[in-house]
Amino acid sequence: MIQKCLWPVGLALFAVTAACAQSNIPIISGGLGFFGATRGGVNSFQPVVAPVLAAPLGEKWLIESRADLRGFISREDGTTGPYQGQFFDTLEYLQIDYNATSRLTITAGRFLTPFGIFNERLSPIWISKFQDAPVIAAIGTSEGYSDGFMVRGALISNPRYAVNYVAYFSTLSTVPQFESARSTGGRVGLFLPNTRLEVGTSYERTLQVQRMNSFGADLSWAPDQLPLEVKGEWAHSLSGHGYWIQGAYRLSQLGGANSALGRLEPVFRMQQFFRNLQIPGDSLPATNTRLPEIGLNYYLPREVRLNASYGRQYLAHSGETNEWEFGITYRFLFPLWPGEFK
């Protein structure tokens, strides 16, 4: 039913977009990836396609969408048996944005739940420094996606600092591809352009039968003087609390960003989760967990990136496992149709 309704809407939007000036050319972006992993002796492979559509309409509107199409290939019995594959398709967001004023954007549709920085900013496969999401990624994000409306923008913006905000309401949906929970929340961030430091705090309240609050804090720092990136998050919910912190240093000072060594980027991530209460379906580790990881990214020309990482997961009651991961991603960006810019 939903699909039948969406087709005419999509076609209408396509027609409106096509009728707009050539300066509003939609773009198709996104990533292609192939990932492999060995976790505790269990091998798995994941081919992924994650297309993004961004279609500006007029001076104030934007339609955006991202999907994640991936296969999951693993042995039938974990470590033995023939390989078998499963296919997963996820509509991650399909939203329309209206830039109401210089400091206010109103969004409606399906969107990434704005809690912390990972879900909205770092989750794309061509951005994330590691193959896996942090173990606390499920805290405050209601499985990652929300259906409803959102307001966001820059409350204050000047050369010295910027204060940004986002607030949303999501409704309960059980429609396939549009599943979401009833919740509300938001984030406030302070960005200092001169030091390229951003700190933020997030809040989410689930409005289901069981009402729960989640809190979070995040940090992002990319100094101008160094090819260094430091990012981290802390989050707390009734299920438990935890953090992840990550550092990435591009060796571009060794001959430039395009030299053989300058394309290397060692990365490190430490994360921990402390279980407080068992809540079924919260998508968090069942027990206390800690996971230090080290990795190496290599940026090839033409937006191709190779990555490999090793992590050792310590679970409170089930011991330790090694996690080896490798992958290749390709990031693409091109206009949806040919034409001259006006």
């Binding site: 773009i27 969004t107 960005f191 160094l226 430039g256 960003a257 230090p292 091109f334 810019f341």
Partner: protein, 99 residues
């Protein structure tokens, strides 16, 4: 108890990483020009726009290698929503990407 020691260790490791990085920088000035930048037809035409593009783009990801003027409007609008930029920021970024 053991896991409580990990957080300080992680912070120490990151601090160490920072110190090593600063040491490598030595007395050099800004090395921003060594970070990858998108290739556009507008290099240098809007220094303020370029600065805002670099600062805000880098909050989430490395800048794309290539953005043509035809893709600029969609990129700028997308950045405005995602990075919660003001209309002025979007305008300056667009001037840089597609003068």
């Amino acid at each position: 108890m053991k896991h409580r020691k990990i957080a300080p260790v992680a912070l120490v490791c990151l601090s160490g990483l920072s110190v090593v990085a600063f040491a490598q920088t030595g007395t050099k000035g800004s090395t921003n020009n060594q970070k990858s930048k998108p290739v556009t037809s507008a290099q240098g035409s809007s220094p303020d726009g370029e600065k805002r593009f670099q600062i805000n783009c880098g909050r989430c990801h490395n800048p794309p290698e290539d953005i043509s003027p035809r893709e600029a409007r969609a990129v700028g609008r997308h950045m405005r929503v995602r990075a919660m930029l003001s209309a002025e920021d979007e305008k300056l970024i667009l001037q840089f990407l597609a003068p």
